[in-house]
Each structure stands twice: as structure tokens, then as C-alpha cells.
Symmetry: C2
Amino acid sequence: MSERVLVDQLQSREDGPVSISGWVETVRDQKKVQFVILRDETGAVQLVNPATRPDPDGGEQDADALALTALISELSTGTFLTATGELKHDERVKLGGVEIKLAGLEVAAAALPETPIASDSGLDKRMDWRFIDLRQRRNALIFRVSTTFEHAMRSYWVENDYVELHTPKLMSTPAEGNAELFALEYFGEQTAYLAQSPQHYKQMAQAAGFGKIFEIGDVFRADPSFTSRHATEFTSVDAEISWIDSYDDVARMQEELLATAIQAVADKHGAEIKELFDIDVVVPTVPFPRIPLAEAREIVAARGYAIPRTDGDLDPEGERQISAHALETYGHEFVFITDYHPEIRPFYHMRNAETGLTNSYDLLFKGVEITTGAQREHRIDVLEAQATEKGLSLEGLEHYLDFFRYGVPPHGGFGMGLARVLMLMFGQDSIREVTFLFRGPTRLAP
Amino acid sequence: MSERVLVDQLQSREDGPVSISGWVETVRDQKKVQFVILRDETGAVQLVNPATRPDPDGGEQDADALALTALISELSTGTFLTATGELKHDERVKLGGVEIKLAGLEVAAAALPETPIASDSGLDKRMDWRFIDLRQRRNALIFRVSTTFEHAMRSYWVENDYVELHTPKLMSTPAEGNAELFALEYFGEQTAYLAQSPQHYKQMAQAAGFGKIFEIGDVFRADPSFTSRHATEFTSVDAEISWIDSYDDVARMQEELLATAIQAVADKHGAEIKELFDIDVVVPTVPFPRIPLAEAREIVAARGYAIPRTDGDLDPEGERQISAHALETYGHEFVFITDYHPEIRPFYHMRNAETGLTNSYDLLFKGVEITTGAQREHRIDVLEAQATEKGLSLEGLEHYLDFFRYGVPPHGGFGMGLARVLMLMFGQDSIREVTFLFRGPTRLAP
């Protein structure tokens, strides 16, 4: 068998014999000529075959040619095959300016004739048949971009001497002491909980003296909501660093990280994202704008939107409004909102001694929150008091609190939902579109 | 506050004022002079302070000097602090040839005076206090090496156009249809299972036309065993590629991957691994030796070891024997064992039409299995027959089998336990030593 050539290598290749492998996107079975559009992970190419039909008058014909024509007539969409033939450059061919005159086809696995979904099927139906849905170029691109984005983030961290962690997802106690926890029987005696975040453990790494750490891994939320932004399992991008002076050290790391990673995406995929999604990937400048929450609420009010929430936070429309403000005022798609009231923050956020507000931020991207970051409270007495104030049992937090009793540096970090970033980057309405296999309250398969 | 300098930057820095941050490793509180060994994530340095004690005769003394001396006398091991002072190069100082004459100390968090473990405490006790255990230079190095190793693997894949996946860990059906599954109630109505491997989903990515994929992620096994090689949760390194001709295409990718990643480890950490573990990191040459299982058993028998297993597989001592053979014969720490009988392989391994053996391999490293790889059966009729033969219910495999009904390329891949590789690389007896936080049947905390 001759060596497989990828479709995106064809244009720069000289005319001559070639072998490509992929799946059938369409077949045009005309009387005198047959066309097959074959797609692989790099592109699509037209295969052409002069049809040889059985002679109605019973005249003799080339058996191989008859067989090839019959094989093409029977090809179903999605059939994976290897095609051999003669590559020919031809400007008139719209698809890449090349075509392959077929010499032979070897079917690896024939698809059932009826494809259960079309590209315009409903989202839920497409998720039932996600492996077919992902054959679409637009959908596959999302995961190539995600690969580039993640690798650029990890490269940034590795170049800056961070340690990569894989924290456990099975825990004996809830990580944040609240609801939305999946529980399971653990060898008949214990109950294990699925981690909602690596929060405890990335802080533990600070007490271990690791200095700077990151993790990109799965987290779980038994969250019954069906919104377009929530999932019961998702990929969390986390980092935590020691010896910070302020949460702003965390924010500065995150903005550098994102600028670097989005630059990598723009460089490698900008043109294709523009072509397929009509979106310009804007590489953000640093620093990102920063607006204290109280000021953000005033700005939103001045824009004529009355936030209905009474807890002092922004609501989704408030987030869109303040993002619109940041775009109009600073030309920026990102904005940090800072200084949240402790009531709407977890107990482990450090509080400013003067204002009483937390040393924390949310990061909004194109109007949606993608991150919470903070300096953590590392003083055990203050931490215990804040936990008690929130009504948490110190006993349930025993293992976590131990991390602070035997020495710990000042530290802080952030957590970021990968799918949210991708959803916004691609202008999608739902994280389902940018998740390989979405998991929700009624979605555990395939 | 002056800018933090890392300990490993001190040697190349000129004498003068400096600020460093880390934790107290030891204090030598002599009458006339005090020494503190301070460690950070890059090394350790000696701090020195001429002691100023209260004058027994009540003479007046510098209050700041008295306070600093008293503070040092009270320092407990593990206390995290920032030290400022004058850096001085001095050849007589064994620890790096530098010391810092203290001007001031700022304690970030004082450790409780009694450290609950020592470096020679038992493994279980050390795991109870893992965050203290990880402050040891040897233990921390393992995770820096793991970071380098993983990043080199991902870089290899990204440079070769692989797509990174995050497959779901919550599944509606068992992935491989056998025992050792964790189950949990899912919103009161359904049962979810925790993925034992990404096997189904990395194959799904092949049906989706992704071509080449990788994932480094968590998997779960409700395995009640207490061996040094097993855990209930571990990090699995997985890859899967399309359009292979044979399982050997997978083996070739894996050996290139490992040679590249181990080269990166040797380059960056070889000297430190030698210093702390007395182990030479050997960069493997490619190709790795390959020995069919039947031949391996003969070689082991000829070496005088009678394998007690009757199923045709190697046992742990057999694996050590064949690895010793590979080292003696080929000078190689790795060896592929190939062509396993279907009875000891999962149903989805493709079988050789002539021999009836599976197109699969195990990879041994220093005498221990670290990987199973295989070409997968992609023909739906054969796959169904092999599943039925293994006593599996096709109904339970419905979603998986769908991947093969709508077209799929020939494909194969491997799964590799990250902790096993690290355990062997560092000559450790247990994966517990190389796992950030081990999870076993009786170990869910911290």
C-alpha cells in the first residue's frame, strides 16, 4: 500500500499517483461520471471516476471498471475508505484546485445508508450522534483550537517553572462544604465525593512548598440546572501561586496567560475561524481593564439597567452591560471585576483589612464570567473564623485546615471553565457545542 | 518590600541586599550566633544572625536586635517567612557557598511546633501528612520531573497534529463491561459509572474523523487490591490514531514518544535525579525490542523460571525475567511483548486472521508492565461476535457499537499509567511515592 497523503498536502504535491484516506462526505453519481467528496482531518478533495455501466446490449466491458463504478454507486455518506489514483491539478476544480482520478477504492468500514442526523439537526439530536456531528469541519476545528489554546497555556506555565498537578477527584469530605455534590459508596463502608474543584489540593501544594502549580482537569457538579453555561462535568483550568502580595498578582498572571494563549490561537487558526465562524480572534492587550464591583454597578445603573439582584453582585445582563462598557471605553473584550463583598464569596477568600471586601476578582470575557480568582486567607485563625461565620463545620474541613497549621505561604489562584472560554471565542450559544461529550442532568450518553 | 529572589538565583547574584521567601528547614540557635536553613521551591540557603540576648546585668541593648534574636529562637520547622538581609558569598559555607546576614524576618504563617512526621516516617503516616512530606527535595523533584515528562509528550503530539481530548468520566454504561466499577446515583433516577479508561471515547474520536488524539486524565477502578502498583484513581496517558496498518504503528509512535519525553527529563533533571536518587536516566534508543509472548515465555523458561500462570500470560516475575533478558541481550530497559491470546485480551482487540492471536502488545519498563496497546477491531460484525464470545451483552454496549455502524477507520492506540512510569523511573517501590495524593480502598484523605 502506498503511503497515506493528507488532503492538505495535495495542493503542494506534484501530479501523479497518490493514496488518501478519509470518509465520504457526498457522492454525485451521474450517468457518465461519478464524483466523491472525501474528507479527512485536514480537508476535503474531489475524487472523480468515469462511470462504466453494464452495457444494456450485453457488450463486454472491463470488469474492474464495472466493479469500481458499482462500488461508488453504493457508497454511503460516512463510509471510511482509502482511495488511490492520479492527482491532477486543475484550476477549474473549486475544492482546492485539485482532483484525484480514481484507480481504486478500499472500504475500511461502510456506514449504514441512513445518516441519523444532518448538520442542521437540533442540538440534542446532534449530541445523540456526536461522533457524526463532529465530522463537520466547524465542529472539529473547535477541538483543534482547544488543543492549541491548552498547549499554549501549559507552555507558558512550564516556561515559568510551574508544577503540573493531578489532584484526586475522589474525596472523603466535600471540597467547599456546599450542595451540588455527587456522592458514591466507596467499598461498602465509606462515602466518597467527586471533587467540585481542585481548590483544596492546589492550596495544599502551596503548603507543600511547590510555589506555582497548574492543573487542567475534570470537575463535577451535581447541578440540576439546564442553562447553556452549566454542565455536571467539565474541564477546569486552575493555577495557584505562592508569595503574592495581592490578588492582582494572580490577575496579572492570568491576563498574560490568556494573551499568550489567544495569540497562539490567532496565529495558527485565525484565518480558519474567520472563514468558518466569521469571527475575528482579537489578541487582548495587557493589562486588562479592572473595575471594582461597586463601581461596575454604578456604571451599569448609569447605562440604564437596574440590576434586580439585591446581594450586590452582577446578574448576567449586568455582566453584559459592564463588558459592553469595557469594550466601548477601553476597546477590550476582557474585564476584571474586583473587590466582592464576603457574603457572595467563599470563606477562604482573604478580606481587605480596611474595606472588609474580599481580595478577589471575576474575569468577564465578551459579557460572560469565565473565572473567579482570589488571594486566599492563609492565617488559620482568620480562616477558621470566616468558615464559622459562613456556618461551615470546622470538623468537616479538618483536613483542609491542617494545611494551614504547619506553615503556608501567602497565595492565590484562579479557576477557569475551559468550555466557557471556547464558547465565547467561537460565538456559540451553549457550552454543549464546544464540549467533546457534554454531561448534564439528563445527558450521560453516548 | 523588595522583590523576592529565588534561592537558586543567589549564587550568581552579587553581594548586597536581598529578600527571599520560603520555609524553615532547621534552626541552630547557638548562644552567640543563630543559623536558619530556609528552603524554597528551588533550593536552600543559610541565614545567619549574631545573637543579641537580654543582658543578665540589665544593660541596655538594641531592641530590634533583641526582637529578631527572640523571633529566631521561637521559629518552628515549616514556618513560612520572608527574610531580608545582606547576601554574602563565602566559600566556607557548604550550602551553595553563600549566606544571608539577616536584617529582618517576616513570618507569613508559623507552623505548630511539633511536626507530625519525619522524613523516615512510615509511608502511611507520610501520606496522612502528604503536604509536609512533599516539602522534601526528593519528593518535590518527582513532580517537577512529571511536569517535564508530560509536557514533552504533549509537545510531541501537538507538533504531530494530534487533538487533545477531555473525555467524560461519567458514563451511563460500563466502559469495558466488567467489574471494578464505581457507581453513583445520578439525579435520583439514573446510575452513572466512573470511567475506567477513555477507551470508548478515544475510539469515538476515530469515528468522528479526528485522526490522532491524546488525553492525559483521571480514570477510576473500584479495585480492592492493596498492591504497590494499584490505585482506585490514577492518571492515564492515552493516545489513539487512525489509518494504521498494524499495532506496530502504535508501538512505533509510543517508543518515539517515550524516547522524546525521557530525553527531555534527562536534559533538564538528569543530574538532580542522579544526586538525589542515585539513578541514571537512560534515554532509550528506538526501536525498542519486540518479543512475541510465546517466545517470551520460552525465554523465561530457559532462564529457569517456571511461570505458574496457566492462561499463557506472563506473571510479575516472568515480566522481570523477560525484561532482564532484554537488558542483557539488547541493552534496553524497555521491551514490547506482542501477540497475546484473545482469551487474555479485551473483546475489542483485533485478531490476526492467520494466527488467531490479538494484534496487541504490552510494554514493559524495568520489569513492570506500563502499557497495553492494540489495533482495535473496527468491523462491526467481527466486533459484535468477539463481544458475544466474551459473554458481553450487546445491549449494554449499544452506544459503543454505534460508533462502528456509521463508518470508522482502522485504528489503534495505547493506555499508560503515569504513576507506574514515574515509579520505575525513580526506582520506587510503590506508586504511592509518585502520586500527589494516592487513592486506595482505605485512602480517601487528605
